[in-house]
Amino acid sequence: MLVACSQSPQDKQGDAITTTQSWIATARMTGEAWQQGKLPDAYTEQTLIKSQQKIVQQNRSKVIPSPLSEQLQQTLRQMIADVQQHRRNTIASSLEKLSNEQHQLESLAKNRGVQR
């Protein structure tokens, strides 16, 4: 985030969570739209890879507990593989997992008092 460096550690953590949420939402929306044939393959793959990188980048300070962050990475890797192999029917289960992880992160954010 643009204003990250001026903030307190709590704010920073909050920002990291918000940004992670934003990129998970991006990956999900991209995956869903691709499944429905609304997006070209190259763009989808690039965006998923970028989401994955951004999420790793945001989690350098380990704000997200490791089981959840590992799950997330696993899901995104699966999605990228699906897109690379044009498996429109199998991406559904990954999307479901991603939505699940999105909810977990949301409750985590709520517990820490991070608001969007």
Binding site: T30, A42, Q46, Q115
Partner: protein, 404 residues
Amino acid sequence: MSKLFEIALGIITSIGGFLDVGAIATAAEAGSNFGFQLIWAIVLGTVCVVFLVEMSGRLAAVSKHTLADAIRERFGFNFYILPLIAEVIVDFLVLGAEIGGVCIALQLVTGVHFQWWALPVAFAIWLLLWKGTFGLIENGISLLGLVTLGFVVATFELRPALPALAKGLLPTVPHQDTAHYLFIAVSILGALISPYLFYFYSSGAVEDEWDESDLGVNRAVAGLGMGFGSIVSLGVLIVAAQVLHPQGIQVDSYEQAALMLTQTFGYWGFILFAASLGIACFGAALEVNLDTAYVTAQAFGWNWGENLHPKQAARFSSVYTVFVFLAALLMVIGTDPLQLTLFSMALTAVILPITIIPFLVLMNDPEYVGQHHNGWISNGVVIFTIALAFILAIVAIPLEIIGG
């Protein structure tokens, strides 16, 4: 009849010409981060820019001199050098960002990374300036810009709640993320009230050989054209607020913004976004690049004009030839296009006061505008904009530093 045609053409041109990488990026940021809360900034910026563009056209039509000429002559070169240097630096960053916008559009469609597109895009821009005329650039490219109306269509499809929209017309400051909110507000105003518009518009009026009989056209083009143009910006903001904001997507990369229209138009929505971004940025890149050559040539009294053959205005043509490739290097080295855009828009806000203050003098100088001098409303708007610009400049600098 031909006047009517001219007005229609002028309005279409401004819709296409008005929208650029800054307008799209800041509106997308604003909508995805803060919903409808920043609508007021677009409206405010539009009112200011309509008045100032009308004035720069009027100055050119009556005095046959561009804004840059007039500032240099009246205030002297030792003053003009300040807005000149500021404008060239900002133009350099903005041109880099516009080229970046075109490259990103190409990346979205083809999957080929944007860095690879920078030099081919710069070449295409240069070729059009080298071979084309002012009319071709103004009308041809801007006509294509009408695809951006897709955002307006999408707005209607999405049926935003009107009371919520109306609430966005009143400036409010949120409880959290205040610094980011103000930074985006400053960037929106910087993107809309761009100095290059005034220099470019007045140079265009001189290229088109406007005289006092064109004042009506000028008023219509400035008012309606810029007005419609900002409706597209509003469209981007509203669509981002309706589609991305509820999902929790905060745009910090163009890839995220590209999802904006898929909900409404499906696959073609994606293509439409890429086309809008690409065409708007390409048109704006032509204008910014020409603008740099205009302000430099006019600073030193060189022969200038896009309608002249390059060899008739060698120094003028050399400036845009060199400048576009230098600016493309910003993309070649892999600068993030969206961050560059936001940064250069906020920087634009910083240099605003120095560009606008001369309006107050020139638009009341009988030697330049004769009986067509400013009334108290226009002077009031200029004074207000100067005050606003000063506040923005003061606010923008710490925000940029905080922004890191």
